[in-house]
Symmetry: C2
């Protein structure tokens, strides 16, 4: 029983260390997206722990949405989540279960003074600078939502719309390029009427009803990453919560 890669006798439980190890291998590109991991027994041998410990680690990563399991086949690395989030839209036709995810278009990226509402969650001071990423969401060519994401400039010094697009979204970019796996901490939903600015962007009437969604995301160490505000026209589409 020799310590090979994991530091036993640490405050962190062994299975957490196994999780960290697997995550870092994913980040390094050693375990590839949509590819199978080594079997539970092989991982156990590799890391010098029991299969049960590997199993517990994999179970948590499956619950986080990072891995998928198929009995008799293997355990696979999921692609990074999209910026839309985990609640798909459901076209409310007669019991059609057509669930779709809208397409993102990044409108702009810039440094702005952070909105007051976001300061507390991101641990920033009032009127400090932060990245603002504005996106438009389309379902079948129709604009259905606008989106303002805010991130601390200290956390991310360099950023451009191009690299985010190339990665396929902010969350994908953070996972691929900054080894930051993202998790939603909380979402808050309000009804509202559109202000002029959003009505123009959404090609809708002022005073139309919409859903205001505030999303707060963090990394797997529960450190705040992003505060996002979305205005969604879900008259004809349902937000599906499972």
């Amino acid at each position: 029983m020799q310590d090979k890669t994991l530091q036993k006798l640490q405050k962190q439980p062994l299975y957490r260390q196994v999780e960290e190890h697997i995550l870092s291998k994913i980040n390094e590109g050693y375990f590839l997206i949509n590819e199978a991991l080594p079997s539970e027994w092989d991982l156990a041998k590799l890391l010098d722990v029991s299969q049960g410990t590997v199993r517990k680690a994999l179970t948590e990563l499956v619950e986080y949405g990072i891995l998928s399991r198929q009995q008799g086949v293997g355990t696979f690395v999921n692609p990074p989540p999209s910026d839309w989030g985990k609640f798909p839209l459901n076209v409310s036709d007669k019991s059609n279960l057509i669930q779709e995810e809208p397409k993102q278009e990044i409108l702009s990226l810039s440094k702005v003074t952070i909105p007051d509402a976001a300061t507390h969650f991101l641990n920033l001071r009032r009127a400090q600078q932060a990245w603002q990423i504005t996106s438009l969401w389309r379902l079948n060519a129709k604009v259905i939502a606008v989106d303002y994401a805010y991130l601390s400039c200290e956390f991310l010094e360099h950023l451009s719309a191009r690299v985010i697009k190339e990665s396929g979204g902010l969350y994908s970019f953070l996972q691929r390029k900054h080894a930051t796996h993202i998790a939603v901490k909380e979402e808050q939903l309000f009804v509202m009427r559109l202000a002029k600015e959003e009505a123009v962007l959404l090609q809708a009437d002022t005073a139309d009803a919409a859903t205001l969604i505030i999303r707060m995301t963090q990394n797997l160490n529960a450190e705040p990453i992003e505060w996002r505000k979305r205005i969604l026209l879900n008259h004809e589409f349902a937000i599906v919560i499972r």
Copy 2:
């Protein structure tokens, strides 16, 4: 190794049988609400399984929200969930984390022809009869939501507003009196404008914006139980999703 209460060599995994056993003991009133269960080791001895198997069963019941665990203290039976659901409301004051659950008032209970939208989920035919339970929800005396719950009459032959009130809500009633633990299968959220009928009930203006919530609930065997429609005025309160 004698089979005492569980039937081993069954298609169901042992830990599921342990779950069933614990649930039935809760339903029988043998394990009391807010009281501690026997320790994992005692349960293991009692049911003639290993502590690991008991542990896995308890873990699932904790995830369902039926039990709570406290390290070093014990495992406790939670009170049944309220009809409000698992998403509390958040007063949107300056980062006040005051989360509150509104108070329910049952307005009426009657047999009606079921709305078309609910037939598919409840496996009923069009224009069949179903129970309709109408509730009003108040936050600090202010009316904020109306609620129409539908249940199959075949599933529940006898029902009255009084017994539901006495139990503290429909879900509580189903758990206490019908051994039916309830789980949300899916919720769908739309924005809408108030129709006259709801505007009156909610003491709001016609054409005011509101959130329409469709909730589908099932028992732990994934059989459909209830289809519920809620109209919520969440201008000033957020629905909090964790």
